[in-house]
Symmetry: D2
Subunit: 223 residues, 4 copies
Amino acid sequence: MAAPAQLWIAGYGPGLGAALAARFAREHWRVLALSRSAPEPALANGAHVALDLLAADGAARLAQLIVEHGAPRVLVYDVGVFRRAAFAALREDDFRACWEGMALGAFRVAQAVLPAMTQAGGGTLIFSGATASLRGGAEFAAFASAKFALRGLAQALARAYQPRGVHVAHTILDGVLADSARAGQYAARLDPAAVADAYWHLTQQTPGAWTHELDLRGADEPF
Amino acid sequence: MAAPAQLWIAGYGPGLGAALAARFAREHWRVLALSRSAPEPALANGAHVALDLLAADGAARLAQLIVEHGAPRVLVYDVGVFRRAAFAALREDDFRACWEGMALGAFRVAQAVLPAMTQAGGGTLIFSGATASLRGGAEFAAFASAKFALRGLAQALARAYQPRGVHVAHTILDGVLADSARAGQYAARLDPAAVADAYWHLTQQTPGAWTHELDLRGADEPF
Amino acid sequence: MAAPAQLWIAGYGPGLGAALAARFAREHWRVLALSRSAPEPALANGAHVALDLLAADGAARLAQLIVEHGAPRVLVYDVGVFRRAAFAALREDDFRACWEGMALGAFRVAQAVLPAMTQAGGGTLIFSGATASLRGGAEFAAFASAKFALRGLAQALARAYQPRGVHVAHTILDGVLADSARAGQYAARLDPAAVADAYWHLTQQTPGAWTHELDLRGADEPF
Amino acid sequence: MAAPAQLWIAGYGPGLGAALAARFAREHWRVLALSRSAPEPALANGAHVALDLLAADGAARLAQLIVEHGAPRVLVYDVGVFRRAAFAALREDDFRACWEGMALGAFRVAQAVLPAMTQAGGGTLIFSGATASLRGGAEFAAFASAKFALRGLAQALARAYQPRGVHVAHTILDGVLADSARAGQYAARLDPAAVADAYWHLTQQTPGAWTHELDLRGADEPF
């Protein structure tokens, strides 16, 4: 009997991460939830792995995970490092932390996973972008610059790997997720379960019509 | 017993139109296929309606269809008027025909359908765009200008109607559909059934995460 | 002695049109100001020509002007047809008027002028766009759709004619001009003389670095 | 007698850097050319400063330069770190080097210069982008991701500082500069002197019409 398909979530958290785990579990996928610390409760249909992608051994540990578990069919990169500040008050550490978390981590994951996916005959890589992937707001120099960087990376990967069978998508999450840490500060109109559903359908697209980029926003989100 | 949900396809043809009719029929929707002449064979799960949207009575006939059939749950605007020529050889009639077919027709359909959808409590409007919606190529002055016009219209409608419950989406079909009239001239990598599936999933999105724009291209389409 | 270089302004008006006439007059250019009715006062360094581009003889009269005056070195297309309304209240006449004035008129002008410019060894065509060239706002279905159409046309012309020596530019005037008819309704932060200066410098670019698109906005314009 | 206005060029090199120095020298500006090593020959109207922006004391040395020379009226950030490789062959060091050179360096320069410019009553900051600022090509994961990052930063700075009197511009240099190190490998159609002229005119724009982004390409550059 074939092993169940695997979804890996890099940057797992209680909002979109948990919704993705639930959505794919419904389809009997196995889920590997990667985050810096393994949270409670345990996943129904998978496992938490505590992994700091930016640590010196981050790439090696990713490679090890692939040896142990095989290549994921789908990897979602949903690491969010949010910083907002007037530019004069923004510290270089913040500027660097956003890029390392959202772009360098994505680079490491892509380098580990893409050869394995190609060898396994295909797969899907989804990168979570944001409003700030398209627009650098006045107090978003760090966050937007890093989200722009991620988008450029995602485009390059799509152009390089789609002809070789790996679907690479980039989403514009235009708004704040209802379950996110920022939901108190901002009007939160994006429903994690609805976003997870959109990600599921992206992974079910066939090579005859792949989406590279789509936006997702709540019905009453101004844009 | 409730009447089945209706899909209307404006600009029905044997490529994407037929694939949409088949996809929604699978979900037991009723399909109304609008085109200038009603083609053979008959639809399994719906009806052809011969309707020239640009005729003097186009708007009145649309209104009459809504009276007869009720508001569609989903309307796909997939009218294609393709002209390609060096600019010096492009006739004003071609420039006008592209705009009338792809933008003015969309305006008429939106004006007829949106009030009915709003009154019915919601719905989905999908406009088919193309590579030329984002890029005006040297020989595409007529086609691209009209596709740009359609995109501007679609954005305005999304901003106006999404807060009132109507989902408005615009697709970038980046490439030539395998069943289209142009499939002989160009490398045709877009699979109509796969595109129809993406449209189906757009219509199933919930207000917690609506997509306004997504691209769709074959896995080996250069972009 | 060589004839002075000519600037033609299609859609001449008291705001940007007058500022352009003044700016180019400073460089001793001759200005031909085209508008539906020839306004007072007369131009210091040129002439008004009453010309309805959309009339049945619009194209013929343009051709005749080229015979009489020779090809313009620079043509600025600055026709504005502004309509703003909730979509349900927007009339088809408005939707059509925006497109005819801003896109079809541009098509006619381009068809008349480009062969003459190419034959004369070069020239510059500048199309005035707006915020609405990139974003379709809720009440801007007519205006935005037409401005999008103009942008698609401008791109096609740039790709077709720049390799043949005609520079084609499209500006994003992001905001309201201080002298425009809308200056009372909106915060008007764009200075016509400053915009005219930017247009002048576009026309002075050499083929080693041509700008196709640039935005222009007042320093305190939110964007 | 007033001190001459100063142009600082971060990432000075023999191509665009030298052309900018020459162009502004023509206007009697004083030029400070910053690069990791001070090249020969000396500048006619300014000075070379050997400065490694990414060194531990990079920010401190910038601050010191401002104390010594006063705030520049204009700063051009033209640091280029080019890497091109198939993604599987791209090393993390390359990915990081592009971002550090093109985005982190820009961050440091902006943090040093913007308070000084604001205090001095205004100024202009120009960031050099590239084709890869808008499009991540298959072999450009490192270069494009970093150029995207720079663009996001530039937008944030424009929105934050333009209302306070500092003009922030981002250019899309679409093509290879004739004098660049890559001119042998690629068709080089961008003329450094023509680009420098466009930068000069950007700095001469008045607050009534500032350009945030413009593209620059050779007349025969395909796009």
